[in-house]
């Protein structure tokens, strides 16, 4: 329903605004061409997106994700001290976060749902500090190679769609850091 409100709101706002600014003819033209533009965009994104999905399949099959998960373990035990002793939780959490880092979205989501289900066992219905931290880590994008954005840039005619990588890494790292810090600080002050 939220999406319905957003979509209808956008259309109504566009028409009302057009009546005020007098650009009704442009809005009429956009209403007709927008759908075709979307299809064209999908087609021009298709090549790079499919290629990267193929490369990521190689990463998945070669066990890179499992290797990364093992590397992340010590760090994650510190981030989730309450669950450090629970092997099944830590396995799901590290598998989810390493799949997220590599951009294996299809693999990451089921692992993440499993991890949050396991974490909620102890405190049914209420988000524990560990679960809040885990969800915050998942709402902050940690993907190393933002393939969808790169495909979008290349579809817009960009010759070097990956030149934003260092900037994206910096912004991602700082936003994850902010989320983790906020979660740690709020854990101290929020009532249980």
């Amino acid at each position: 329903m939220a999406m319905s409100a957003l979509w209808v709101g956008m259309i109504v706002a566009a028409i009302l605004c057009a009546l005020i600014t007098g650009r009704t003819d442009a809005v009429a033209a956009a209403a007709v061409s927008g759908a075709a533009d979307a299809v064209e965009l999908c087609l021009s994104m298709a090549g790079l997106l499919c290629l990267w999905m193929g490369v990521m399949e190689v990463m998945r099959r070669s066990g890179l994700s499992e290797k990364l998960a093992r590397l992340l373990r010590p760090l994650l035990r510190r981030l989730f001290p309450a669950f450090a002793g629970e092997e099944d939780v830590m396995a799901a959490v590290s598998a989810n976060l390493s799949a997220n880092l590599l951009g294996l979205g299809n693999a990451a989501t089921p692992l993440g749902l499993e991890a949050s289900r396991l974490m909620a066992r102890r405190t049914p219905g209420v988000a524990s500090d560990g679960l809040c931290m885990f969800v915050v880590c998942n709402t902050a994008s940690i993907q190393l190679i933002p393939t969808t954005v790169a495909s979008l840039r290349s579809a817009a005619g960009c010759a070097t769609p990956f030149d934003i990588l260092p900037a994206t890494w910096l912004a991602s790292a700082l936003s994850v850091l902010a989320g983790v810090t906020a979660a740690k600080v709020l854990a101290l002050v929020w009532r249980k």
Binding site: G34, R61, C158, S172
Partner: protein
Amino acid sequence: MSLFFDLTMPGMIALIALWGMVRRVDVYDAVVQGASGGLGVLARIAPPLIALLTAVAMLRASGFLELCARWAAPLLLRLGIPPETVPLLLVRPISGSAALGVGADLMATYGPDSQIGRTAAVMMGSTETTFYTIAVYFGAAGVKKTRYAIPAALCADCVGFFTAALAVRLFFPA
């Protein structure tokens, strides 16, 4: 620096493929299979993109997006964020496909290599569809009391938007 960017993508593909060979993966088969999975992803994002890009195109044509940018300019300019990105800031936490539509519109309007286009791309690459993720994860865990998860996640988003603009200014001085 330009050599680094030239080799980023082909280099990554080569490294991953070689690593796959070392691990005795049928690399070619994996690439082809994965690419066919990519078509599934496209089929999934196309219908919402058709609906949302129509709405964004109408908003752009009506002058609404420019009005938003003008309203938001005093605050965003002080933070170093291009005010033209304000529609992206608003929809990014709510809907991934709406963000894709707005991002595509910004890149088409201002160019993918403009300061605005690059900032939009970095913003999209360093943030997530926060509310959707929270709803799905807490839903799966049967959690109703989400405590401070939403404020902490939104804090990460705000810092992500701010540092995206900062990082683009840093790496691509105008």
